[in-house]
Every structure is written in C-alpha cells, then in structure tokens.
Symmetry: C2
Subunit: 207 residues, 2 copies
C-alpha cells in the first residue's frame, strides 16, 4: 500500500512531521543523557537544549515543562517493563515458575536498562532507583495475575494485597542491592527472592 522506495518509514510523512519527530527524539535523548549525568534538580532546561542544535524556546514546543519531560522518560522506561513481566508470567503453570519468572525478568531488565533508569529526583543522589511511581503502578498487573493464579490453584490463598506489596518490595530493594555489587547476578537474586516468597506462602497456607 505504500509507494515504492519507502525504505525509511518516514518517507510519506511531510517534511514538517518528519523534523517534528526528529527534534522530539533529539530533545528526549539529550534530556536522558543530561538527567543521567546531573540528576533532576541540577540540570536546567538550557542544559538539555544546549545539547541539541535548537534554541531555548523550542523546548516548550515539545514539552510543557522540565517536569513533563522527566515524567516522559520515566514513563517510557516503566511502560517497557510491564509487557515483559506479563509475558514472562503468562505461561507459568507452577508457583515456582510464576514467581521466578517475575523476579528474573525484572532483574534482567534492571541490569539491561540501568543507564536509562533515571536517578533520583533528589539533590545529587546518582543512585539508580527503580521504585518510581510509574514502575510501582506496573505492579498493579501483578496483583491481577496473582489473583488468577490463586483462582487456578497455582498459588495458595493468602492476602493478595500484602503479597503484591511484598513481591514489589523485594524486587525493588534486591534490584538496588544487586546493582551495588561488583557483578550483578540476576539469577542469584531471583533465586533468593523466589525461595523466600515460596517458602513463606507455603508456610502461611498450612495454618
């Protein structure tokens, strides 16, 4: 349905929209780099725009504020991990596979994307943080999946809200602990977390 010679997918975009999305990408990439280097509060919108060939005012043609672009970056990352987690869990027929897949996928993601995980909002903390509101929200899906798994008899009946929070808490804190080590080992971390959760809930179920 396209014209011939449409190698590039922006072939049939007008020049306008072409440069628009080009510039948008330019700004976003610059912002990611600068935020990663200086953290939120110490980067200025001018710093970001200085890393592009554009002028100061142009920034606001693409993003309403410094806050908005920061959100955009974090959303982007969070949105990437959600389908991965869902997908990883989907085929799991046993409790062990279900829980392990969740942790392993998350830890692998953190290792792969840690440069993109924007550092804290705070003054000069260059620490990698994974417990952003966007990622936390992503664990809402986990709650649904846990409910299904319990209904299907894969997992024993326990308080779902607490269990979801527990898995999220383990995922966040073990991620950061893992990344602080010389050689991050997602397999070991996932194994530990899985054993903890499985042992814990099987103990609870017996009561």
């Amino acid at each position: 349905m396209e014209e011939e010679n449409s190698r590039a997918n922006d072939r049939e975009l007008g020049r306008r929209e072409q440069t628009r999305s080009h510039n948008q990408a330019l700004i976003l990439a610059a912002a990611r780099a600068v935020f990663a280097e200086y953290g939120y509060s110490r980067t200025t919108v001018r710093d970001i725009i200085r890393a592009t060939p554009l002028a100061a005012g142009t920034f606001y043609n693409y993003y309403k504020s410094k806050d908005e672009i920061f959100q955009a970056i974090r959303d982007e990352t969070a949105l990437k991990v959600r389908p991965l987690l869902r997908e990883a869990r989907s085929g799991s027929k046993t409790a062990d596979k279900f829980i392990y897949a969740t942790f392993r996928t998350f830890f692998d993601f953190v290792v792969a994307e840690h440069a993109a995980l924007v550092t804290g909002h705070s003054s000069n903390a260059m620490h990698v943080r994974v417990d952003t509101p966007e990622i936390i929200a992503g664990f809402g899906e986990l709650e649904e999946d846990l409910a299904s798994a319990i209904a299907a008899g894969i997992l024993p009946r326990v308080d779902i809200k607490y269990l979801t929070a527990s898995i999220a808490g383990l995922a966040f804190e073990l991620s950061e602990n893992m990344m602080d080590r010389e050689k991050p080992d997602p397999e070991a971390a996932a194994r530990f977390a899985t054993d903890l959760v499985l042992g814990g809930i099987s103990g609870m179920a017996k009561k």
Copy 2:
C-alpha cells in the same frame, strides 16, 4: 548541681544561645509543617520563614540552604527509629521474635510518625515515603544483628546481604501499602512479613 528554680533547662544559658536555639526550633517546626503540606519543590524558603516571626535573611543564619534543612528533618526522623529497632531486637531469643520485633517496631513507628515522614522530593507527590537514604542506611545495623543471630544459631545460614535487603524491601513497601489503607494495621502487616521471611529462610536452610 544547678541553681535553684531551674525548672527550664535553658535557665543558665545566656540570652543569646537561648533565642538561638529557640529560633532554630521555630524554623525547624515551621519547615516540617510546610514541607508536609506542600512537598519539597513547591515550598519556598519564604514560605517557611513566613510561618515564623523572623525575616527572610535570618533563615540562612540557621541553615545553609533549603536542601540542608530538608536533610536535617529527614536525618532527625531516621535517627529516631534506629535505636528503637536495635532495642526491640536485642532481647529476642527466637527467630520469630527477632524478625517480628523488627517489623512491628518499624510499622508502629511509621504509623506514629507518618506526619513527620516528609513526602517525596518530587513535584506534587504527597505520598508518604519511608525509603529515604537515611532510613535505608539504618538497615546497616540490621545486617550486623542478623550476622550475630546467625552466629548464635537463632537464624539459619543464608546470604546475609540478600536477607537484609529483603527485610528492608518488605518493611518499606509494606509500610507504604499499610499507610494507603483506611485503617493501618501494624500488627497484621508485621505478622505477614514475619511469616514470609521465616517460612522463606527455613525453606532455604533445608536445601
């Protein structure tokens, strides 16, 4: 050893130091209130000082910057919980008591102090956050105590670093989950977390 009629403990302070500490406390209290209401970025130093009878410049006689007073507040809170946690664990002769005391004390503290737990640095998130760097650092002591407990045979041998991170992660995330509920129940949360950890590590030990 004091003079008679020394009801107030600033009796033998000079007037100077008396008003100094008075003003300091005044500013700190005002800051706590204003930060709690508007969050970090939306409160100005002028907002803080306006809640006291002092003038703008005076603020900087007591604190170097807005950031510094924010840190001071967080440190103060973090420093309060540490001895409580140590104390709570100290007498515990069984694994269950040891772990439960840790969680229960932490959750009770969060409930009691939640107004003082300054909300996130971020734009307008009024969410209570307990995983500040200062509080996270406090869990270093937990690691030492876990090591002792394992040495004493109270807890089975497991990876201490992962276990510490796990307990911290559970404490943080369950705290926030607990505070989001209509009626926070530290007992139930602590019970859940304890069962999870105990069941988990006893499972690991058997391997």
